[in-house]
């Protein structure tokens, strides 16, 4: 099976190269990037075949592509891949507008191709354990989540992460979708209402978008949650950020720190504490699932609709920051 990577706008594109290379029966077809300088340099660095255009890569007949453009450019590439009958794994958030997210889901459905949203947390082993215990009834009823997905300002990876158009927003757009997706997966219910309050105190002079954000959401089944989506981690914190939640249930509570599996490293070179992660690689499991879904001609464990629902909740959060009210999530 041949898989290609479209764009290195998202830095995950590089990680996916190594994921693909470690998989059996999967070949990295090559990479294409509309930023020729970046694309050629990274293709050379990773010893991957470079295609001069997205069309050229698609003409080489990949089975699937991983789309790693800026957030607002996913749609055009998904449409291009769908028209060639090529399966798609799309970076999150799947789109920055409701219309784009819906169009992405519809075009793939009409083309009969696999559309998977890149939600790696679904493949986190600690989270899979919680999901299994939930399904086993170990916790009884779930009442609420107190969740965080915090990070440093992501500009050290790519500047466009803080561009209001290319990224579709700031911390809210970057971080809301992961936890919304995890909660939907855990409790099998849709987000009904959303309240969000944001500010721009961290990096106030460097960016135009919100850098601090707290959200409060309620699901159709009455489970409620808060999400802290802030870019509040200093760049000298021991790691990039993290994802945590407390789940409160009939049987008490469980704290989960998805990226806690670290060794603490203190090096003369770094002159600061560094948390080095030894937990299992969720990206690898995610890319593997994409290949398996293609091979087995089935729906992936994370679908395009999952990506759409997470975007809908995120857009409701932005609406709430504008109105100051708790708003209904509009679902397609």
């Amino acid at each position: 099976m041949k898989i290609g990577i479209l764009s290195f706008a998202h830095h995950h594109g590089e990680a996916y190269i190594s994921n693909l290379r470690r998989m059996d029966n999967v070949e990295l077809l090559g990479v294409a990037d509309d930023d020729t300088t970046r694309g050629e340099a990274l293709a050379k660095q990773h010893e991957a075949r470079y295609f001069p255009s997205y069309e050229a890569l698609l003409e080489a007949k990949p089975d699937g592509v991983i789309i790693c453009t800026e957030n607002n450019r996913h749609r055009s590439l998904v449409e291009m891949a769908a028209s060639c009958g090529v399966h798609v794994l799309c970076e999150k958030p799947i789109a920055t507008t409701h219309a784009d997210a819906k169009a992405i889901v519809d075009v793939c459905s009409q083309a009969g191709i696999v559309l998977m949203t890149a939600f790696p947390m679904r493949f986190s082993v600690p989270l899979l354990e919680i999901k299994a215990r939930l399904d086993n009834g170990d916790f009884g009823n779930v009442y609420c989540f107190n969740a965080t997905n915090q990070g440093e300002l992501p500009t050290k990876h790519r500047a466009w992460f803080v561009d209001p158009d290319l990224a579709g927003g700031g911390a809210i757009m970057d971080h809301t979708v992961h936890l919304v997706d995890i909660m939907r997966w855990f409790i099998g219910s849709e987000v009904e209402t959303m309240y969000a309050h944001s500010n721009k105190i961290f990096h106030a002079d460097e960016v135009q978008v919100e850098t601090g954000a707290l959200e409060m959401l309620t699901f159709k089944n009455n489970v409620f949650a808060t999400i802290d989506a802030s870019w509040c981690r200093p760049q000298y914190w021991p790691t990039w950020g993290g994802l945590t939640f407390e789940m409160v249930t009939q049987r008490g509570a469980v704290f989960v720190d998805a990226f806690r599996q670290n060794i603490n490293v203190y090096s003369h070179n770094a002159q600061r504490a560094n948390w080095s992660y030894w937990g299992s690689d969720m990206n690898h499991a995610m890319v593997n699932e994409f290949a398996s879904a293609i091979r087995e001609n089935r729906e992936p464990k994370v679908t395009g609709v999952d990506g759409l629902r997470a975007v809908e909740a995120t857009l409701a959060a932005y609406e709430s920051t504008r109105t100051g009210q708790t708003v209904q999530v509009q679902r397609a």
Partner: protein, 334 residues
């Protein structure tokens, strides 16, 4: 200085121990549970009074450690008698009541010292001073967490009656509303949810509150009565424009017990934090209150702080019912 203590539950007992470390004299106790009052009176060689009225002529200061819904009437009585007042948090059960007691004490020219003890816990006080010294710049997002189990009581568990205690959103989480105000200033908006509002049959309770401060800062406050006794966890994380402060009571506990248990262990009625320090924060608090009463020294908690945190708690209760944020009326204008 003679102090009379009203209420001899966990807080009355703790305050008595704190007063004993000051030059003040504990004149006596009054409480519904006479037996318990007798025991404490014996311990501190003090009297048992049949009522607050009976106690007032003998004291200079009334320390109110009764259930929250009784604070209003007791403060008004003490103020009318010209006595200074120390009052447990929450200052009163409603904003209206809190406003009335602040005004009454002001008119009567007596001090009203509200026991927001979290400001006296060394880890919280240290973070506050680090922030006041500019170590992390302007606070942006605060996360405050306080978690334990549902308070127990041998009889008459007023903690679980919302009309008396205000439940978890008021009784437990008011500690952190007050701390959030100390760090990030006045609050404009309150959005809240709690488990027993959406799941009335839940055996646990848990509250989540988002505060919007006038300064632009945001606070996330979580309160839990969902953990197994004797758990008591506190955490805070204060992220500012130039840095971050983190605290976790579990991670900073200097002693971890891995002792083989021979029998069942009893948890206290109300969970309380307990990192070993040379002086109980409750004692630190009462020493500062003593200095305010004896020498007119300033305290870190003003009566209006007690009022402001009650207003936030009341808004949280309203927001949890309506699932809409509540905008607070400015206390100065009201």
């Amino acid at each position: 200085m003679k102090v009379g203590i009203v209420g001899v539950g966990f807080m009355g007992t703790t305050h008595a121990s704190g007063w004993a470390d000051t030059p003040a004299q504990i004149a006596g106790f009054t409480a519904e549970t006479q037996d318990e009052a007798e025991k404490l009176a014996m311990q501190y060689q003090a009297k048992v009074y049949s009522s607050l009225d009976a106690m007032l002529p003998d004291v200079d200061v009334v320390d109110i450690c009764s259930p929250t819904h009784l604070h209003h009437e007791m403060i008004l009585k003490a103020a009318a008698a010209g006595k200074h007042i120390v009052c447990e948090k929450p200052l009163a059960r409603t904003t209206q009541q809190a406003r009335e007691v602040v005004e009454a004490c002001s008119k009567a020219g007596v001090q009203l010292l509200v026991a927001h003890v979290v400001r006296f816990f060394p880890e919280y006080a240290l973070a506050q001073s680090a922030i006041a010294n500019g170590q992390i710049g302007k606070p942006a997002v605060l996360r405050l967490h306080r978690g334990s189990y549902r308070p127990k009581k041998p009889a008459g568990n007023w903690f679980l009656e919302e009309s008396k205690s205000g439940g978890i959103l008021m009784d437990l989480m008011i500690h952190d509303y007050d701390y959030a105000r100390w760090i990030a200033g006045d609050v404009e908006t309150v959005s809240a949810r709690r488990v027993t509002e959406s799941h009335s049959d839940a055996p646990v309770d848990y509250g989540l509150v988002i505060l919007g401060h006038k300064s632009g800062a945001l606070s996330h406050i979580a309160g839990s009565w969902a953990y197994p006794p004797p758990t008591f966890i506190t955490r805070f994380e204060i992220a500012g424009e130039h840095g971050l402060i983190e605290f976790d009571s579990e991670a900073t506990a200097p002693i971890h017990n891995l002792i083989l248990k021979t029998g069942g262990s009893d948890a206290p009625d109300v969970g309380l934090p307990s990192s070993p320090v040379s002086e109980s924060p409750y004692t630190t608090q009462l020493k500062e209150f003593y200095a305010a009463l004896a020498d007119g020294k300033p305290t870190r908690v003003r009566a209006t702080d007690g009022l402001a945190s009650v207003q936030i708690a009341e808004a949280a209760l309203q927001s949890a019912r309506t699932n809409q944020p509540v905008t607070l009326q400015s206390l100065a204008e009201a």
